[in-house]
């Protein structure tokens, strides 16, 4: 026989299960909402771009207007070159600044750097392009891959700095103390223990910054400028995928529109490949039981 208390228990448990179901559904719904635009964008890119994607597209330079065929090989190479320069300049500075903020900065000076990094993160990319134009292009007196790399590096730094700082602060003090207790000096502890413990998080931050700048167009407009021919010289104007896509997309030619779609698809695939490659490489050498 069910007493009143039993019935009250039943009511509570039904209510709990209801809330549980609702929260699960809400969380699941949020995941779908996040994935939907991503899948839509990717699907539409494949749909529109795959038709123009062929061997020639990946190996040839652009053909003059009116001629069919040609490709964006020089732009792909240019993007790789510019991103490489940006990473070489931006990643060490970003990680270094993050280490400084997490391990050494105390008080006001640290706060100022943190604030500056956050502001820099919000500066429109075109403004950063102008800055790179001012400090590199005007000095060199011509557009160059280097100028594009500098612009993108400036964009990378604040993201990497803040991510590195956050990840280092997550490393428990007890781990640092273990190293100090062994007579390991402070800088050695920072590099070999703290940074190493935070590696996977720091890599995530770097890849986030990388993926973000890989698709940037505005900072390259008057730095890398673009080029219809091959160029491997860092001091010369250089083609880049986002620039090429931009130029082709606003052109009046259908053939160029199709190529712009293909270019966008290649760009996304390149970003996915490089991010995954770094993740896999970083995942190697991890040990059993490493969290």
């Amino acid at each position: 026989m069910a007493t009143q208390a039993d019935r009250a228990d039943l009511r509570v448990s039904l209510r709990r299960r209801g809330i549980d179901l609702l929260s699960t559904l809400a969380a699941g719904g949020a995941v779908v909402l996040v994935l939907l635009p991503l899948c839509a964008v990717f699907g539409y890119l494949i749909y529109s771009g795959i038709g123009s994607l062929n061997w020639a597209f990946l190996t040839q330079t652009p053909k003059p207007v009116g001629e069919a065929g040609g490709g964006m090989a020089n732009a792909i190479a240019g993007s790789v070159l510019i991103l490489l320069i940006a990473s070489i300049l931006g990643v060490p500075v970003g990680i270094g600044a993050g280490i400084y903020l997490a391990e050494y900065a105390r008080g006001r000076f640290g706060d100022i750097i943190r604030f500056t990094a956050d502001i820099l993160n919000g500066v429109p990319s075109i403004v950063i392009g102008i800055v790179a134009y001012g400090i590199v292009v005007l000095r060199q007196r011509h557009f160059s891959a280097l100028a594009g790399g500098v612009a993108l590096a400036i964009m990378m730094v604040p993201t990497i700095t803040r991510a590195t700082e956050e990840m280092l602060l997550l490393v428990p003090t007890t781990v640092r103390e273990a190293a100090y207790g062994l007579g390991v000096s402070r800088w050695r502890t920072t590099l070999s223990i703290t940074l190493r413990t935070a590696t996977s998080g720091v890599i995530t931050g770097v890849m986030l910054a990388f993926a973000r700048i890989a698709g940037e167009t505005a900072p390259l407009l008057f730095t890398a400028f673009g080029n219809t021919y091959w160029n491997w010289n860092v001091n010369q104007p250089t083609a880049a995928l986002p620039l090429q896509i931009f130029v082709y997309a606003i052109s009046p030619f259908d053939e160029w529109h199709r190529q712009a779609w293909a270019g966008a698809l290649v760009l996304i695939v390149l970003i996915v490949i490089s991010v995954s490659a770094v993740r896999i490489a970083a995942g190697r050498g991890m040990l059993k039981g490493t969290s």
Binding site: R106, P172, T174, V175, E177, A178, A179, Y180, G181, L182, G183, V184, S185, R188, T189, S192, I193, R196, T197, T199, M286, L287, K288, G289, T290, S291
Partner: protein, 252 residues
């Protein structure tokens, strides 16, 4: 071989709060000395002053003299030099999470520039054996992360790591407080072995533990050393009323 640890007129602060007042104490070589007292009495601060870990805390300050054998801890020696001669085992096991078992033990030597691999192999095996962990981990030395071990094994790993740098003094800050009774008794047995060769200072909340492992015991209260004597005397016939109150469980 262990060396005496001599503490004179030690005072320590966190910012404006004084954590230790005029501590004078001599811990004998090849003996275990237990430090007991209620939470917040300065026990941990005391041992952290011995290897200069106290000063790693922002705004912490120390004043006084500590000598470890011939070594003057607070005068003319760098903190890293001091810490290389003093092993420390912490309250919570803290192996380096990204390192293998082997690298955890070798860390102190490797990070200080020791490169002789054959010697390293020997030292790692010897340290793990001394910490009574070798048999349990010898097949997984390089494959498994130190963090994959059980809590008790992790703590013995941390002891092995501390022993690998061949210290003269071993500081243990409540080394068993996070462990179950079986792991605790293993560590206590270990302390018995280790004190043949090292000077051991062990902070503990567990008075039975103090009486089991230590020849000498110091009782701390509110940053003062109330009483320091043979463990037996402290627990059977303390000279200070406050010590008696504490060990009979009247407070703390």
């Amino acid at each position: 071989m262990g060396v005496d640890v001599q503490v004179e007129q030690l005072n320590a602060w966190f910012g404006k709060t004084q954590a230790l007042r005029d501590i004078n104490l001599k811990m004998l070589a090849n003996h275990a000395t237990a430090i007991i007292g209620p939470s917040g009495c300065g026990k941990s601060t005391f041992v952290r002053c011995i290897n200069r870990m106290h000063e790693t805390v922002p705004e912490a300050r120390v004043d006084g003299h500590i000598r470890i054998g011939e070594l003057n801890v607070y005068n003319g020696t760098s903190a890293t030099q001091v810490r290389r001669q003093i092993g420390m085992v912490f309250q919570k096991p803290n192996p380096f999470p990204t390192m293998s078992i082997y690298d955890n033990v070798a860390a102190g030597l490797k990070l200080n520039g020791f490169r002789d691999r054959r010697r390293l192999d020997e030292i790692v095996e010897r340290s793990l054996s001394m910490a009574a962990l070798w048999d349990e981990v010898k097949d997984a030395l390089r494959k498994q992360s130190g963090a994959s071990l059980s809590g008790g094994q992790q703590q013995r790993l941390c002891i092995a790591r501390a022993l690998a740098v061949e210290p003269e003094v071993l500081l243990m800050d409540e080394p068993c407080s996070a462990l179950d009774p079986i792991s605790t008794s293993k560590i206590e047995e270990l302390i018995f072995q280790l004190k043949q060769r090292y000077t051991i200072v062990i902070v503990t909340h567990n008075m039975q533990q103090a009486s089991r492992v230590a020849e000498y015991t110091g009782f701390f209260l509110l940053g003062n050393l109330i009483e320091f004597d043979k463990t037996e005397k402290i627990f059977t016939n303390p000279s200070d009323k406050r010590t008696e109150d504490y060990i009979t469980g009247r407070f703390g």
